[in-house]
């Protein structure tokens, strides 16, 4: 398992790097509007009504942005959670925890592709 993780490390690092950079660039705008502004009624009426949200996220750029918001934080999250586990629990369970976290990120990313294509 550890050998497999080492083999995929270059890919994992690219996705982790993209997650920390692109994910962080996108998250404040997304969190302030979609997850906080709209539910709490802080946005103008209809700003994120279903019709408008569907219009935004069903065009190619909107789908790409939503996929980036889904997949990239998953990889950043998986890699940093693995690092946290190594720092606090030690190396003995790293292969198991790392594999589990990257599996969540990989499956989540694939489901994200399916979901944004289904919009």
């Amino acid at each position: 398992m550890k050998a497999l993780l080492l083999r995929f490390e270059p890919i994992i690092w690219v996705l982790f790097g993209a997650g920390i950079m692109v994910g962080t660039l996108l998250l404040p705008g997304y969190l302030l509007t979609v997850t906080l502004g709209a539910p709490l009624g802080l946005l103008p009426d209809g700003a994120l009504s279903f019709e408008r949200a569907h219009m935004i996220f069903s065009n190619p750029l909107g789908r790409l942005v939503l996929l980036a918001i889904i997949a990239l934080p998953l990889w950043k999250g998986a890699h940093h959670t693995r690092a946290l586990a190594v720092d606090t629990l030690g190396h003995h369970s790293d292969a198991l925890i790392g594999s589990l976290l990257y599996a969540i990120a990989a499956i989540g990313s694939l489901l994200g592709i399916v979901a944004v294509l289904a919009i």
């Binding site: 997650g19 920390i20 950079m21 994910g23 962080t24 660039l25 996108l26 998250l27 404040p28 705008g29 997304y30 969190l31 302030l32 509007t33 979609v34 997850t35 906080l36 502004g37 709209a38 539910p39 709490l40 946005l43 103008p44 700003a47 994120l48 279903f50 019709e51 408008r52 949200a53 569907h54 935004i56 996220f57 939503l66 918001i69 889904i70 997949a71 990239l72 934080p73 998953l74 950043k76 999250g77 998986a78 890699h79 940093h80 959670t81 693995r82 690092a83 946290l84 720092d87 606090t88 030690g90 976290l101 990120a105 989540g108 489901l111 994200g112 979901a115 944004v116 289904a118 919009i119």
Partner: protein, 146 residues
């Protein structure tokens, strides 16, 4: 008469196990500011992981139609979700500030014939990009533009 030096002269006949001690978390890590910040930076991974999974729910709700979308926004108004998303916002800002501070230091001195801009300029460009992207998303998702 002297012999030429042999760089392998002190090599043991059998390669031994490394004597480097495995890294261990000190018991008083909580009192060490650098270690605390480093672990907090790692801990934002848990928040990001959950943000990604919740964003997956956003995409599925949009794919499922208006009732699912309205139900999702209603659930996001619950105190648990609001507190989590405030924590996620703080985490994203913390990661951005720390990562953008480290980013210029991690650049190579030269990339082919091109030299990266000075660290202060690179730092400013990252913040400009962050602010610009955030403003565009606020305008688009906030119903101001287009």
């Amino acid at each position: 008469m002297t012999r030429p030096s042999d760089p392998q002269a002190m090599t043991p006949s059998k390669p031994g196990r490394t004597r480097t001690a495995p890294p261990q978390l000190p018991d008083d890590f909580w009192t060490r500011p650098r270690m605390r910040t480093y672990l907090l930076f790692d801990a934002t991974g848990i928040v990001y992981l959950l943000v990604g999974l919740i964003a997956l729910r956003v995409a599925w709700a949009l794919a499922d139609g208006a009732p699912a979308w309205d139900a999702l926004l209603q659930s996001f108004a619950s105190p648990g979700y609001v507190l989590f998303h405030i924590l996620a916002l703080i985490s994203a800002i913390f990661v951005g500030v720390r990562f953008f501070r480290l980013f210029p230091k991690a650049q190579p001195a030269q990339i082919g014939p091109v030299k990266p801009p000075p660290p202060a300029v690179l730092h400013a460009l990252l913040y400009a990009a962050w602010g610009g992207i955030t403003l565009v998303l606020l305008a688009v998702f906030g119903g101001i533009w287009p």
